[in-house]
């Protein structure tokens, strides 16, 4: 009953940076075997530089890059748990041949290169599916596998712009802003898991693999659907609303005790408004016609904001949240990244894993955004060092001898240290 959901599913993971690694991190939590493929000349760029040259380049435990910085760079470590690491120089004929051979032993290949990279390497879907007709090829790209911008390069922050998300994000002055979280990356990583499950169901029905075209820009536009529909009929172009909402009044974040601490609240009904008045010890405010209805509150929101801020300023953000919630008012502390690590709710739900990483030390790892009652996730397996599983993949899976593997290392086709690591 407690078998891992994806036990026995093997994934060849050519992704790097954020979106793809996030997808395979989540698949790994659910039990898939993920083989991450990099090369010593082209590591996942989230591993950082082989030898960071300046202070502040990259992010390492204690600010210390250490002897093998590529194995302990924060973002690499955080996004690449639950995986095995293989190095393979795909520019060489033998490297390509091994990848093809591996593709015949895997259920899934996933990559997020610029659109034409795999074709140029001679490892496009046609070739791989010929070698393994049951292979599911997941192509995550910024613009999609077709179209005039298919080879455009993007980061998550670029896609926030080109998909329109930045145009509705900003303060009430109307200037667009980006997030600092490259939001389309994690979002598409989360979605990719379900899309792959759908393709696996199709394979169960047809016996054949398939090609998935997942464009980050399009997924991000899908999050603006109501505005797209509205514009097509009314011609209205939405802009940023700050933290306001057309129907939830008041809504906003209010300052609390402490440095840069805030509490968020959203009032969705007159009932909740009365609860808010009780919570802040001003029950008579509920009778004030200036605030009695949504329309009235919107009209006097600036005055209302001052009343609320005067109350929140006297309290800690968690304290304000608990008091407001006790009166039925939707409220939440605006948590900092560090605060979520010790949040009592997330802790009680077992959301975080404390990971003892052989090269990065002890840190706390995000897990899955879901829990399945009969298919629990497994605990985080620390991210692998570069090429850590070369022997397993080439020896145990492909049947090469130790001598053959050693020869590949001598030829530079595999390795455990990036090119450039020995310069100093």
């Amino acid at each position: 009953m407690t078998q891992l959901a994806l036990e026995g599913l093997r994934i060849l993971d050519l992704t790097q940076v954020a979106v793809g690694p996030y997808a395979t991190l989540l698949l790994g939590f659910m039990g898939a075997e993920v083989i991450k493929v990099e090369s010593c000349s082209r590591m996942d760029i989230s591993r950082g530089a082989a030898r960071p040259t300046s202070q502040g380049e990259g992010l390492y435990p204690g600010g210390e890059p250490g002897e093998r910085p590529w194995n302990r760079a924060a973002h690499y470590v955080h996004r690449n748990g639950n995986k095995r690491s293989l190095t393979l120089d795909l520019a060489t004929a033998r490297g390509k041949a091994f990848l093809l051979q591996l593709a015949t032993m895997c259920d899934v290949l996933i990559e997020n290169f610029r659109a034409s990279v795999m074709d140029r390497l001679g490892l496009g879907y046609e070739t791989l599916s010929h070698a393994n007709p049951r292979l599911i090829y997941v192509k995550i790209s910024s613009q999609g596998a077709t179209g005039p911008e298919r080879d455009y390069g993007s980061l998550g922050s670029t896609l926030e712009q080109t998909a329109g998300l930045a145009s509705i994000t900003g303060y009430e002055d109307g200037r667009p802003l980006m997030t600092n979280e490259t939001y389309p990356d994690p979002v598409v990583g989360i979605l990719a898991v379900g899309v792959l499950m759908a393709a696996l169901r199709q394979r169960r029905q047809t016996g054949r693999g398939t090609f998935i075209d997942l464009a980050q820009r399009e997924v991000t536009v899908a999050m603006l659907g109501e505005y797209v529909v509205d514009y097509s009929v009314t011609g209205r172009v939405p802009g940023p609303l700050g933290n306001r909402h057309p129907h939830l009044v008041p809504q906003g974040v209010y300052p609390c005790q402490g440095d840069d601490m805030w509490v968020a609240l959203s009032v969705s009904s007159d009932d909740e408004w009365r609860g808010l008045c009780r919570a802040i010890g001003q029950p008579n405010l509920a009778q004030d016609p200036k605030f009695a209805t949504v329309l009235a509150r919107r009209h006097h929101q600036a005055e209302l904001d001052q009343i609320l801020a005067a109350w929140t300023q006297e309290r800690e953000h968690y304290q304000a949240m608990h008091l407001l919630q006790a009166h039925g008012v939707p409220a939440g502390a605006v948590l900092k990244g560090g605060e979520t690590l010790v949040d009592p709710h997330l802790t009680a739900r077992g959301f975080w894993d404390v990971v003892n990483h052989p090269e990065a030390g002890t840190y706390t790892q995000v897990s899955t955004p879901w829990r399945l009652s009969k298919s629990p996730r497994r605990p985080t397996i620390p991210s692998p060092s570069l090429g850590e599983h070369n022997n397993y993949v080439l020896g145990d899976l492909l049947g090469l001898s130790q001598q053959e593997i050693a020869a590949l290392e001598t030829q530079g086709i595999i390795g455990t240290r990036p090119i450039g690591a020995e310069e100093d």
């Binding site: 973002h75 900003g170 759908a198 398939t210 899908a222 933290n243 840069d260 990244g337 009680a348 879901w370």
Partner: protein, 396 residues
């Protein structure tokens, strides 16, 4: 093969969810061919029917763009789950369904005899997906949430916005959509297990956890010694909007010289303040001023294409209007026209992914209770008189 080559052509979904997250999950299931029966409260329906933006001047339950978009491809029945008869009818429907998606406050459906533990006894294969602000367990399980609160508690918004201002949320319903995608992925994980092992399960999806997963910098950077903060904007003003030069990450070092040539400032190519990625990051605001001098007199999309041509990761801030003229989105036929009897013809974002061999299932959103006769009479065997009786009693 199921009918129409649809991956979920044999799957029936009972959708009790409201607002954004749950309905987006079931919209995606409908797109893959599942039959989705949306159960709405008699009279008012899904709260998104009242959310707007309304495509007609007056608010109208069939003309809320949020509802129209989030409920494409579904059937609608009305049912009062608070009544005993309503709960009984839902139990019958749940016996014939593969997936149930709900977004009630944790424990609410248990009290009505419609919780997972009860329904599982009737239908052991049932996948029961609960989508809530904080999940089914833990000290905040009964707390109320909202789009803003999910972004707040998931440590997403603290770093969004400008340093001298308050934290800022992402616009629209970003957290709701993302939570819907979590629910979609989780539900299909459970279906994968069911296809292999036969049993269903309870799937618990929380908006707070989804957003905590979606903050990919804040919690890890904090632990590795660099607490992220709100930063000055790096968008540059163009003639008709905003652009980003895309020179900070993910570009080759020789790109800078080519950008300088393009801007007509070749002398900057060797300027140590800008000629490495690290230097540009350090002198970001100075760089922004420089770039803005060049961008200010040019159209944003022209800048985007020119800089992308030099292998930068440049962007332009598309407005919703710009999406309609994007050559990329047009070439991929991403936007689709759908007709609706009350709302008329409108343009919708289409399939957010394609799986070769499967066509996306496009159909309009239903009117409130449009499929009562089909489902209650056709499926459950009620007569027209029974329906009239139920309607009179306010059950449907």
């Amino acid at each position: 093969m199921p009918e129409n080559d649809c991956i979920l052509g044999d799957i029936r979904v009972l959708d009790l969810s409201e607002d954004v997250a749950g309905p987006f999950c079931t919209k995606l299931l409908a797109g893959l061919g599942a039959e989705v029966i949306k159960v709405e409260a008699p009279g008012t329906g899904d709260i998104s029917r009242g959310a707007g933006p309304f495509i007609d001047a007056a608010p109208h339950g069939e003309q809320s763009a949020t509802y129209l978009y989030l409920n494409t491809g579904k059937k609608s029945i009305t049912l009062d789950l608070q009544s005993q008869t309503g709960a009984f009818i839902l139990q019958r429907l749940a016996q014939e369904c593969d997936i149930l998606v709900e977004s009630c406050p944790a424990g609410h459906l248990d009290q009505l005899g419609l919780g997972y533990a009860t329904l599982e006894r009737f239908n052991p294969g049932l996948i029961y997906t609960s989508v809530t602000p904080f999940g089914q367990t833990g000290p905040y399980r009964d707390y109320k949430g909202s789009e803003l609160i999910a972004q707040a508690m998931g440590a997403l918004m603290h770093t969004i916005g400008l340093p001298d201002k308050e934290p800022l949320r992402i616009g629209g319903n970003a957290a709701g959509y993302t939570t819907g995608m979590s629910a979609f992925s989780a539900t299909l994980l459970a279906l994968y297990v069911r296809d292999a092992a036969g049993h269903g399960q309870h799937v618990d999806v929380s908006a707070m956890e989804t957003i905590t997963v979606a903050q990919i910098h804040a919690s890890i950077a904090h632990q590795f010694g660099r607490t992220p903060t709100r930063r000055a904007s790096t968008l540059a003003q163009a003639q008709d909007g905003w652009v980003h030069a895309g020179l900070e990450r993910g570009v080759r070092e020789d790109t800078w010289a080519r950008v300088c040539a393009l801007m007509g400032r070749p002398e900057l190519a060797d300027d140590p303040k800008f000629n490495t990625r690290e230097a540009r990051r350090e002198h970001q605001q100075e760089l922004l001023t420089l770039i803005s001098e060049w961008t200010a007199t040019r159209p944003k999309e022209e800048i985007y294409h020119a800089l992308q041509g030099l292998r930068t990761v440049a962007g332009y801030v598309a407005t919703v209007a710009d999406l309609y003229t994007s050559q990329q989105l047009l070439a991929r036929e991403f936007l689709q026209c759908i007709d609706h009897p009350d709302a008329g013809t409108a343009t919708y974002p289409g399939a957010p992914f394609t799986i070769q061999g499967t066509a996306w299932h496009y159909a309009r959103a239903p009117r409130l209770g449009e499929h009562n006769v089909e489902v209650y009479c056709g499926r459950l065997g009620y007569t027209r008189e029974d329906l009239a009786h139920l309607r009179g009693a306010g059950v449907i």
